[in-house]
Symmetry: C2
Subunit: 405 residues, 2 copies
């Protein structure tokens, strides 16, 4: 964890410089605001001011946003009918939030909206002083392409977002490895580029030589078999229902998406040049799919993905995180550690230290049990961040450089 | 106008079939809803039901959406605290709307949001029965690519969205003509693909052989010179301020965007293979920029773009639509009709018949005056549609097939 500790030191150093350059009374518009909107505004100590004009409202609160502190925060109305509140200093990163206006959750007209919680949601980007790895920089940039394809598994037109690295068009003879990268529950295929800034993380890693040029593929992590009712995903569903929930998506990935990508882009279409990773639900999907298809994937990453030791259990998914038996978990995928280590180039598990205990103990416990059993893996903790995008940006920044070496 | 009349007949025929297949009591979720949301719901007669759960609210209305009829529509609350209203039959197309909740405009959590009015805005897609030209179909699809570039004119990183036609990657020796296509005021570079479905219109036109394969470039139609305060755009600004408002964007297009596109994509980088068009403000920008740069553009389209006969007038922009003097308008660009006709391959002006009188008389009057002066142009009316996206979808469907012939 040495690089995390030194990063934290750097952050505080930069934070001091940042604070010195501004006065506490001059909040800066958040980068996530619509153009011209002055709030949400970020103060030098990373507290955040929110406002909403609602002269006739009776109560307005700010809610959501794990990194904002222990809300909801009650707003107060001024003589002009504008409600406002300034939160305590926030954790740096990207925080979903919404107003509660006379009891109704509504978005902030001053914020861009992002797909989260199964709907459009406001969010505030609180800068992490000194963290440049996800900023757009004066380096060569890849493209993010919307690719439509017809899925046989679901019978629907689907849209994948595909990052092609800098130089892709200019070097038509070069072929590239592929990382399939999945969002979390309630989000969609736009999450990794809009909330996560995956394209800038990759641009920066590639420019500095820390990561190899690669293609990222971000698909919508939901699938219902053609003609079947929509599958439900929830912490209260029995673990065995994961087969229903993720089974159709498994077919999409294996039989529709990968062949489409390999036919449409200059990939290196073998397991040694194909990775899959995802956050939260996307991490669960990654473990579910990759461990069944080691002929297709050699690199595996689960970011804050709840561990499901027994895929056939009737216990609710949300409580089914232990004990982890390396012999039987995931249908026996780890039962022969030497064989697993020989076949899988990278197994990567990560969690934020401010995530709920269930995530930390589940993921940390699985990592420990797997290591004890002799399975080679990387376990990464994001210091001080919650079940939020700042954790997953750091995860990608750690994970991507380890791929395809 | 023969093809418009026959299209209207087809619409009524299809509408009858559509109505017969459904009962009035079964609204279909709008395509613009977030996944799983049942409202807004479209009835067989194209009336629209909206709902919002707000047990403690005192008043809730639906507002916005020219094509929805003469709102705002007051909603009524049921015993479960859910407010609802069903509007009269709507005009087919894409209609922005919002709720007014105890006096505050808020988005509908059941709707995707779209950038309009300078912020994220809900919208409802009311299908036009029989109109398949903007539907995703089982034809080869192009890609829509996000392209980041550094603008010297503004000193900022900008994002253009670039449609590359089907087969672009598979045919690395083919070069393509380019259409720069601009959104309207309050919208952004996402408008033409999210609201307008330009990519599917082009896919369908190309698949049927009606349009030649081309690259579309959609940029953000705002620009402020590096270090200068933000320019204002409004109907009450003097026409001469258009030079300030559009001047920086002119520099972006001519000196930053076009060189970037020509360097990054397989274009045919000459005036005979470059078009510009736009809707509303984007149409104004198109006429302002192209008529000053006929060495750069040979194809010009203005869709519902207010006409500004005298760019140097102190009259407010919004009232400055006539009289149109073909000799002096647009700095004399049309003063020699024979020379103009010899140089410009296509001048295309369009308006919806349900647009405000100012648009209809301004655009129709300019078209008449130009024709009378001997300027060759195409004048297109969209039957029954307002200053809305259905007009501009039809415009693109008429305009694109005429390009690069």
């Amino acid at each position: 964890m040495r690089h995390v500790a030194s990063r934290v030191a750097l952050i505080f150093l930069a934070l001091g410089q940042y604070a010195a350059a501004r006065t506490a009374d001059e909040p800066s518009p958040a980068e996530s605001n619509v153009p011209g909107a002055s709030t949400p505004g970020i103060h030098s100590n990373l507290s955040v001011t929110f406002t909403l004009k609602a002269p006739d409202a009776r109560t307005v609160q700010v809610a959501g946003g794990d990194g904002l502190g222990t809300g909801p925060f009650s707003m107060t109305k001024n003589a002009g009918g504008v409600w406002s509140v300034t939160t305590p200093p926030a954790v740096p990163g990207f925080h979903y939030y919404w107003f509660v206006l006379d009891g109704v959750p509504v978005n902030d007209p001053s914020s861009e909206s992002y797909f989260g919680y199964g709907k459009e949601t406001s969010a505030v980007e609180v800068p992490e002083p000194g963290a440049e790895y996800y900023a757009i920089a004066d380096v060569p940039h890849g493209e993010v392409r919307a690719k439509w394809y017809l899925s046989k598994a679901t019978g629907e037109w689907r849209r994948a977002l595909v990052y092609t690295p800098p130089g892709y068009d200019a070097n038509p003879r070069i072929r590239y490895p592929v990382l399939i990268l999945q969002h979390g529950a309630g989000e969609d295929e736009t999450g990794w580029t809009r909330q996560g800034k995956a394209q800038f993380i990759l641009d920066n890693l590639i420019a500095s030589g820390k990561a190899l040029p690669m293609i990222l593929v971000m698909d919508r992590g939901y699938a219902d078999r053609a003609g079947m009712p929509a599958a439900k995903f929830g912490a209260d569903a029995p673990a065995k229902d994961i087969q229903l929930t993720f089974g159709a998506f498994e077919d999409v990935i294996i039989h529709d998406l990968i062949p489409t990508i390999d036919a449409s882009y200059r990939t290196i279409p073998d397991r040694e040049h194909r990775a899959m990773a995802g956050l939260s639900m996307g991490g669960m999907e990654t473990l579910f799919i990759t461990l069944r298809h080691l002929d297709t994937f050699a690199y595996i990453g689960s970011m804050s993905g709840p561990i499901v030791p027994d895929l056939n259990s009737k216990q609710p998914l949300g409580t089914q995180q232990g004990p982890f038996d390396a012999k039987t978990a995931y249908e026996g995928a780890f039962s022969n550690p030497a064989a697993f280590n020989g076949r899988v180039k990278l197994l990567w598990l990560g969690v934020g230290t401010a995530e709920p205990e269930l995530f930390r103990s589940g993921i940390g416990g699985a990592a420990q049990a797997l290591k004890a059993a002799g399975v080679r893996l990387v376990y990464f903790e994001s210091n001080g961040t919650a079940h939020e995008w700042q954790t997953w940006r750091r995860d990608l920044n750690d994970f991507a450089p380890r791929l395809f070496r």
